[in-house]
Assembly symmetry: none
Homo-oligomer: 230 residues x 4
DNA sequence: GATGAATGAGTGTTCATTCAT
DNA sequence: AATGAATGAACACTCATTCAT
């Protein structure tokens, strides 16, 4: 018991910090309160952590990194798929969107990739609900305050590749940058909204197919001039 | 001159407050700074306003209300349209989604209702860019911090009516509440994201048709079991 | 009584600050102690002063300025005397130090300039003994921590002019810069040491003639190769 | 290896302390920083030293002592010289200052005593420039903060003897105590100023003859009533 | 011999708010 | 109608020091 006391105190501090940050957000959280709740004195926090922000980061760094990296690897994977040129049989400028969608969903059926990634994300994200909440909603004033924007802009690059490819095949002019951004925004916030509203992971996962299908509809509709698929 | 001085001072205070809140957000804004910039002393603010939050509210109340009410009246209007039962020719449980869409877009062609509302919203929202920014991004810590959620949950009721009607006609079981919420989230955030990224109203409006079509695709795809309109 | 309370409080604060700074020096002084002794709360100091250093400066600025300016004007005056070329009858390179001293002390007898300046300095410096003490001994950590150096380097320029002139007349090579600096150091510290040791102004003034004569001896000996005026 | 490790750690600590004290002065130095730079933990310092001040003292005690003792022994030596009564041929009350100076400088030519002491001082003082700097400029808050005063008041006793003797021979009344103090101040600060401004020992020594001659002029001028050696 | 953890009082500073005038 | 003075609690953070191990 004795030798673990320090680590226990560190954890007490982190636990109290998590609670306080969740309740008040980073900026309004009080180190005093955290220490008091951890049964320690104000100075103690500075033994373990450089400053208030380091305490916050210590809570969520690993978590934030794993979320970020999962998205990175997903995007890298998709990029490779595009480079494999599944769409290479299609004739540039003369293809129509239905042909593209057929290929897209073939692949999707095989891999169900989007949903697999979705599930992985949910494993992590729901694996520590509080930390994710901290990261997404309570990090204003820290280096993580733009975390969502980072996710969006990463996903944006990925979506842009698809848009470029499809526009090229369809003979359309490029999708406007903001629309690409918006699509990315849509996707990332779909996950985030789901997370924030549905506290139970399995229930969230049950929602995924519908949301994905709907997002895909939103996405592909971009490439059609017709009012809507009629 | 004398009787208007007071009103002038009120306005100076509000102007300085707007600047400060925009720069730092509600919580981090300093009343001291506001008063200094308004050329007044700290006490003055308490003559005009009950406290810091009342000052913030005084800035955006009208603006927030008008946005809120516009959405209300839009929803009421749509509700009436539904009650007029444009879809009454369709046979319950035996209609398919294409039929519904035909009617939906007929009406839309006549009215271009969604886009008209969109334009009205933009008139208000871009009419005072700063106040909208305050409301959407700088209101944490005030009664308005959940303003977006309020919009979403109002829009939710509206979307729910459509969903109910369509499901009924299609013989589907009801759309899950969260999916309805999410659709609403999608729509509201589409406006908000557009606003935050595109500072120029006309440019924003140019984006609307694409975004609306895409949102409609997302919406209608909900009612189809098929992977996607193929 | 009521309307003067604020100014009284300001003075209480300054008085308490003076006491605390004198006892502990700027860096080790505690604003809390100052406020407590002034019968005020910690925040009060920030109504009157920007920060701790501004409180210190408020105490001694005028005082420091008047000392500095007195020295400035003295030096300017002496410079003009040199420009009047009292020494113009002497032949460059062929004069000896006794001739120079004769002229120097002629002027000095008329004006007793050095001592008059000395007396003025003492009027100011002893006029508020505590403030001078603050400035000279307790200002580490403030903008005044190098005040003495400023005085020395100003006096240095003045002494340099004399040295240049005399060396020129004597046909000597220039006095080394450090020696000029040291002479300046000598002079300024003579005043400062006197001040710090002799708390009574008149007693201090009684010492001046001896010290001045001795300093002059130190000064003129620089220009002689002989062991000493024998 | 083991038994020297402790000593090595002591030295690491002292080295890091020297650096920190030089940079920030005693009061503003941080034990934390010292320990960190020494690669040790905060507690370690308290094994070797009683407290912060003991650490400082451990650095400079020997150095300060040797400077102090050199001055002591010099003064003792001079006292003996005086007791040998080199000036015993002179008639009390009827001697003039020139006669005294002749003897003084005779002795000085033989021994060049002042300058020899000066060189010894410089060997020590420049032998460890950092420690001397610590002692002279960074010791505020420690028992050494008045070290210079101690030197001055010791040298004072020495100068007092000369003054007494000379006054006696000259038939003058005693030099005032403060003037004696000031002369001592002059001398000690001449060394200190030289040290602080001229980092190179040999260059400093080159300056000594001029400074000494000048100081001697200052000294002997004290015993003359005439305006100055004319 | 030295660590590493923890203390607790201390720092200067900022804040929204109050209130007599 | 508005000032200007003052409050007092709160803030993040630093410090020299202690002590069980």
């Amino acid at each position: 018991m004795n030798q673990s006391t320090t680590e226990e105190n560190r954890i007490k501090l982190l636990t109290a910090a998590k609670k306080e940050f969740l309740e008040k957000g980073f900026l309004n959280a009080s180190l005093r309160t955290i220490c008091k709740n951890a049964g320690m004195t104000t100075g103690a926090v500075y033994f373990f952590f450089k400053d208030k922000e380091a305490l916050f980061s210590a809570l969520i760094k690993k978590h934030a990194d794993s979320i970020y990296e999962l998205l990175c690897s997903h995007i890298t994977a998709e990029k490779e798929m595009l480079e494999e040129e599944k769409y290479s049989n299609l004739e540039k400028g003369k293809t129509n969107i239905s042909d593209i969608m057929k290929i897209y969903f073939q692949h999707d059926n095989e891999m169900a990739d989007d949903m697999i990634v979705g599930q992985k994300v949910f494993d992590i994200v729901y694996g520590n609900y509080d930390l994710t909440l901290l990261l997404l909603s309570k990090s204003q004033g820290t280096e993580y305050e733009n975390f969502i924007d980072k996710l969006i802009s990463m996903s944006e690059k990925h979506i842009f590749l698809y848009c470029s490819l499809f526009c090229n095949l369809l003979g359309m002019k490029e999708i406007k940058p903001y629309v690409v951004h918006w699509l990315s925004h849509l996707m990332i916030n779909t996950y985030i909204s789901l997370f924030l509203h549905i506290k139970d992971k399995n229930e969230a996962i049950e929602h995924l197919p519908v949301l994905m299908k709907s997002l895909q509809a939103a996405f592909f509709s971009i490439f059609s001039d017709k009012p809507l698929f009629l």
